[in-house]
C-alpha cells in the first residue's frame, strides 16, 4: 500500500514540479524581489564568512608561520617558569634532524636582561636563534622594517672582545630611541651565576609581529647568546614546521615517541623535567578557541541574515497562497490531494530558494574574490596593522573564500526558507474546496 503511495507521488511529481516552476514566474516582480532579498542575504553571509575566514587564517598563519611554528618541544620546567637551566642537549637536535628529514626544525634560547643605551634602560627578553634554520621554520626574520638582517659578528675590538649584531622590536627601538647602527648594552645573570654584560650593535628593527617581541624583544645568534650567558650545553625550545599541516597530530606523536626513546640513551637531569611536545593549538589555546568561535559565529550570523531574508519568502508565499485560494479550491474539488498541493507550494519556495542560491553565490563569489585579491586596506591609518589578543594583524585585511562556506550558506538558506514557507503552507491544510463554487 505504501509502495503504491510512493508510486502515486512519483507519477505526479513531474506535473507538480512543472506547475511550481511556472507558478514562481506568474508574478515576476514579486519573485524577483524575493530572490533579491534572499540572494542579497546570501552575498552578505558569503562576504562575512570570507572576511572571517581571512582573519582566522591570518591567526593560524601568525601562530604557525610567524612565531610559534606547528609544533614546539620544551622541557616542563621551561614551560612552567622559564627555567634557564631546563635545556635539552644539542645531541637531541641532531638525532631528531636525522630521524625526521622531512620536517624543518629550529632551536631557540631565551633569557631576560637589562638593556641600556645612552641615558635609558629597560628590561628586555633575549631570543637567540639560528638564522638559517629559523628562516626555514618561521618568517620572523623576513619582516625587517629598517636596517639589514644580520646576526653575525659586527666587529672584533682591539682587546679581543667580539661585538655582535642584534635585531630588536619596533616599539623597543622607539622607546629607547634606537636606530640601526646604534649601540646597546645588555646586562644579565649568566648561567654560571656571574654578571654577563656586552655591547651590541643594532643591525635591524623588525616590524611589529608579536606584541611581546615588539615591546621587549632582542634577537641574537646562538653563538652570541652562548658568549653572553655561558650556556653551551643545550637549547630551550625547538620550533618545528611541517610542509603538510594535515599530518600535525601524527608527527607530534612520532616526535613524542622518539624523544622518549632518545631519553633512554641520553638521560636528562631530573630538575628540568621531561621534554613536552605540543602543537600550536595547545600552545596558543586562545587561537584555537577563536577558530571554534568563528565557526559558531559564521553559523549564527548566517542564520540571522538568512532568517531575516526568509521573512521575505514567508510574505511572498503568504500572498501567493492567499491570491490562489480559488484556484486551489478548484484543484481540491477536482480531486487534487491536499498533500500534493502542499508539495507543489513547497517546490515553489524551493525553486525560489534555489534560484536565489545560484544568483547569491555567483555575486557573492565575485565580491569575495575581490576581497581575496585586494582586501580592505587600513594601511593609511594603521601602517603596522593592529594587534589584538596577542596577535598582530596585517594592515590589509584580506578575505579567504572557502568553497565549503558557500555550499553551507546555500544549504542553510534553502533549509531556512523551506522551513519559513511551511508556515503559509499551513493555510492549504485549512482550505475548503466548497469555497470555490
Amino acid at each position: 500500500m505504501s509502495a503504491l503511495h510512493a508510486l502515486a507521488v512519483f507519477n505526479r511529481l513531474p506535473i507538480l514540479l512543472f506547475m511550481a516552476w511556472r507558478n514562481i514566474w506568474r508574478n515576476p516582480v514579486r519573485s524577483a524581489l524575493t530572490i533579491s532579498a534572499l540572494a542579497g542575504g546570501l552575498v552578505m553571509v558569503i562576504l562575512y564568512s570570507t572576511l572571517l575566514e581571512g582573519m582566522t587564517r591570518q591567526m593560524v598563519k601568525f601562530a604557525t608561520e610567524i612565531s610559534t611554528g606547528h609544533i614546539q618541544v620544551q622541557r616542563q620546567a621551561f614551560i612552567d617558569d622559564q627555567d634557564l637551566y631546563a635545556t635539552l642537549p644539542w645531541s637531541y637536535l641532531q638525532t631528531l634532524e636525522q630521524q625526521f628529514p622531512n620536517i624543518h626544525i629550529t632551536p631557540r634560547l631565551y633569557s631576560a636582561a637589562l638593556a641600556s643605551a645612552e641615558n635609558t634602560s629597560t628590561g628586555v627578553l633575549i631570543k637567540a636563534v639560528d638564522a638559517q634554520r629559523e628562516a626555514a621554520v618561521t618568517q620572523m626574520l623576513s619582516h625587517v622594517r629598517r636596517g639589514e638582517l644580520n646576526l653575525a659578528v659586527a666587529e672584533t675590538l682591539d682587546d679581543g672582545l667580539i661585538r655582535y649584531n642584534v635585531v630588536i622590536g619596533a616599539q623597543l627601538a622607539k622607546n629607547m630611541n634606537l636606530e640601526p647602527g646604534s649601540e646597546l648594552v645588555l646586562v644579565t645573570q649568566a648561567a654560571d651565576g656571574s654578571i654577563g654584560n656586552a655591547l651590541y650593535r643594532i643591525a635591524a628593527i623588525l616590524k611589529p609581529l608579536e606584541p611581546s617581541f615588539d615591546r621587549m624583544g632582542v634577537l641574537m645568534s646562538i653563538e652570541a647568546y652562548q658568549q653572553l650567558m655561558y650556556l653551551q650545553d643545550g637549547f630551550h625550545e625547538l620550533s618545528i614546521k611541517l610542509d603538510d599541516a594535515t599530518s600535525l597530530e601524527d608527527v607530534q606523536a612520532a616526535l613524542d615517541t622518539k624523544l622518549k626513546l632518545i631519553m633512554t640513551s641520553q638521560s636528562l637531569d631530573a630538575l628540568g623535567g621531561v621534554p613536552v611536545v605540543r602543537n600550536w593549538r595547545q600552545i596558543t589555546p586562545a587561537i584555537a578557541d577563536m577558530l571554534e568561535l568563528s565557526k559558531t559565529m559564521n553559523f549564527i550570523i548566517g542564520f540571522i541574515v538568512v532568517g531575516l531574508a526568509s521573512m521575505g519568502m514567508l510574505n511572498t508565499m503568504l500572498m501567493a497562497i492567499h491570491e490562489r485560494r480559488h484556484e486551489f479550491g478548484v484543484l481540491l474539488a477536482v480531486g487534487m490531494k491536499r498533500r500534493w498541493l502542499l508539495l507543489m507550494v513547497l517546490f515553489e519556495s524551493f525553486f525560489l530558494a534555489l534560484v536565489s542560491a545560484f544568483v547569491g553565490s555567483f555575486i557573492g563569489i565575485i565580491f569575495a574574490a575581490y576581497f581575496e585579491d585586494h582586501g580592505i586596506d587600513f594601511s593609511a591609518s594603521m601602517p603596522d596593522g593592529y594587534d589584538w589578543a596577542g596577535m598582530v594583524f596585517e594592515p590589509v585585511m584580506k578575505g579567504y573564500l572557502e568553497p565549503a562556506h558557500v555550499v553551507n550558506a546555500c544549504v542553510l538558506m534553502i533549509f531556512v526558507t523551506l522551513f519559513a514557507s511551511l508556515i503559509p503552507s499551513w493555510r492549504i491544510a485549512r482550505l475548503k474546496p466548497v469555497e470555490v463554487m
Binding site: 506568474r26 484556484e327 478548484v330 484543484l331 487534487m336 490531494k337
Partner: protein
C-alpha cells in the same frame, strides 16, 4: 437503481442566533444519462445542493447515494478520490490553472488519476476536438475567451471519464450566444458519452435546453418536470 439518490437532505446554517435553512428535506432521484437543470431564484439553495451532491460540503441531515456509494460516510481522502474518478466539475469561472495550456489543463485531472501519458494526451486531444478547440489547445487560459475557457472545462470534466458532471451556473459569465452554444455542446456530449449532467442556471434560454427541470425555492423542491426540448442541438 438510480445513479443519484438524495434522501431527506437538509442543510442549516447558523447566522448568529438565526438559523438559515439553505435546504430542507430534499428527496431526489437522478437516472443515468439524464441532462437535468437546477433552477430557482437567488438564494434558493442551488449551489448548496450541488456542493452536497459533489461531496464538497456535508449535509446537516440526510443521505446522498451516488453510484451505490453513500458519500456522506466517506472520509476526506476517500471523498477526494471519489470526486477524482466519479465526478466532473464545471464552475462558473476560473476553472483552469492559469500556468497550464488548455491541453495541459485537460490532462491534469488524468495525471492525478494516474493514467498513462499516451492515453492522457490522446483523450485530452480527443475531447478538445469534441468541444471544437483542436486548433488552440496550446494556448493558456488568459489567451482564451470566456466561452472557450468554459469549453476547456467541459473537455476536462469529460476526459476524466466521470459518471456525473456537476456544473454550477456554467454560463453565468457568458453572453447568450456563447451560453446556448456551451449548453448544446454539453447536451450533445451527454448523449454521446452517456454521461449524466446536473447544472444550475438562471437563464431561461439555457433552461429550455434541459430535459428535466428541478425548481428550488427556499431550499425546497417546488417542481420537478420532464421537458420536451424545443431545439435540437445545432452542432
Amino acid at each position: 437503481m438510480a445513479l443519484l439518490t438524495l434522501q431527506g437532505i437538509s442543510k442549516h446554517y447558523l447566522q448568529g442566533e438565526l438559523q438559515v435553512n439553505a435546504l430542507s428535506d430534499i428527496n431526489l432521484n437522478v437516472e443515468e444519462g439524464e441532462f437535468a437543470a437546477l433552477v430557482g431564484p437567488s438564494g434558493s439553495g442551488k449551489t448548496t445542493l450541488l456542493n452536497i451532491i459533489g461531496g464538497l460540503d456535508a449535509p446537516t441531515q440526510g443521505l446522498t447515494q451516488l453510484n451505490n456509494t453513500d458519500i456522506t460516510g466517506l472520509s476526506e481522502a476517500e471523498l477526494s478520490d471519489f470526486r477524482l474518478f466519479q465526478l466532473g466539475f464545471i464552475f462558473q469561472a476560473y476553472n483552469l490553472v492559469p500556468v497550464l495550456s488548455a491541453l495541459e489543463n485537460v490532462e491534469l485531472v488524468m495525471v492525478l488519476q494516474g493514467r498513462h501519458a499516451n492515453e492522457r494526451r490522446e483523450r485530452a486531444e480527443h475531447y478538445l476536438q469534441l468541444v471544437g478547440l483542436q486548433d488552440i489547445m496550446q494556448r493558456r487560459p488568459s489567451a482564451l475567451s470566456g466561452g472557450q475557457q468554459q469549453r476547456v472545462a467541459v473537455a476536462r470534466a469529460l476526459a476524466a471519464g466521470p459518471r456525473l458532471v456537476l456544473a454550477d451556473e456554467p454560463t453565468a459569465n457568458l453572453d447568450s450566444e456563447n451560453a446556448t452554444a456551451l449548453l448544446d455542446i454539453m447536451h450533445r456530449l451527454s448523449h454521446e458519452e452517456k454521461t449524466t449532467f446536473i447544472f444550475s442556471t438562471h437563464d431561461p434560454r439555457v433552461m429550455e435546453r434541459a430535459e428535466r427541470i428541478i425548481t428550488l425555492h427556499d431550499g425546497k423542491i417546488v417542481s420537478d418536470e420532464c421537458h420536451q426540448r424545443h431545439h435540437e442541438p445545432t452542432i
